[in-house]
Amino acid sequence: MSAIDTIRSTTQGGRSEFRGAWPNGIGISRVACSGTVENDTDIVLDYMNPTEWSNAGHGAYGGHEHSSVAPQAWCDYFGFPKVGGRCGIHPSRIHLNTSRILGYSSDTTRRNHLIHETAHSFGFLDSCSVDAISNNTGSSSCTLPAGWIGLDRQELRDHIYPGWRYS
């Protein structure tokens, strides 16, 4: 199963940890390889070559996430509500160290890496303290996630987006 399909299947609506939030699940409505960032683009995966990666200064890691605070005009255009006076994020860009990713030992590791990196776009930070999507291989005891687990869904619902109306 691809990273996208794994994210879809592990964030389906009705999951108990969502406690009624997002009844239709976290739907990834469109995946494109166009190189074009559109108004409804939430996550951009930039596959960088070694020169680009080196110039970006992101070290030896496999990925690096950049979120941008959305211009107010973007929220006004779509009528997105402001929460706490803020408009939100648009988009989240993930810089990917392509040569490192291609050097991973298996498709599974590559898939899990993408699942981990896209979790940053949802607001998750790197951590190795518990077995979760935040795991970043920062230590030998820390392994990349194979998908969202209950703890991740609970974290999203209870701590990352507690103020959202979930409509």
Binding site: S2, S29, D42, L45, H66, H90
Partner: protein
């Protein structure tokens, strides 16, 4: 190779569009803890530091970044600290590590602005009233293009 990686050779981008509700949901990331500044990530109790404290060790640490193009503030969350950098701050300009991070963030922001300008111009040209099934406020796009786009 995963499906995603095989689809996109380097320099191309995979675009993930999460359902509209998710777009709005992502929008509350920075306010989830209801603080006036997006400097404290929701699950983080890491200390907040400034440019003076940003050392080589921090630069080399795995991190996530949040940039506000309107204010020039960049929040870098590392595994043990949160750094708030400011384009206008002299200490941030004087520290080559923070200067580089801010310049990189600004370049990304410029890409984002260019993409939004292109999208809004197209919407204006088409006199769009809806996009992705949602009604849109074209006046907001016109104002942004007039004030921001070259």
């Amino acid at each position: 190779m995963t499906r995603e990686a095989s689809l996109c050779s380097h320099r191309l981008r995979t675009i993930l569009s999460i359902a509209a509700v998710m777009g709005a949901m992502l929008g509350v990331t920075v306010v989830a803890n209801a603080t006036p500044d997006p400097i404290t990530a929701p699950q983080s109790d890491r200390p907040v530091k400034n440019c003076d404290a940003f050392k080589q060790r921090n630069d080399a640490s795995e991190s996530q970044e949040l940039f506000d193009g309107a204010t020039g503030k960049l929040v870098i969350t590392t595994e043990d600290s949160i750094f708030v950098l400011d384009e206008a701050s002299t200490p941030c300009k004087d520290n080559p590590l923070t200067k580089r991070r801010l310049e990189h963030a600004r370049r990304i922001e410029d890409e984002n602005v260019a993409a939004l300008c292109k999208s809004f111009r197209q919407a204006i040209a088409e006199k769009r009233t809806q996009e992705k099934g949602r009604p849109v406020n074209l006046a907001a796009a016109e104002k942004y293009v007039a004030e921001t786009c070259n």
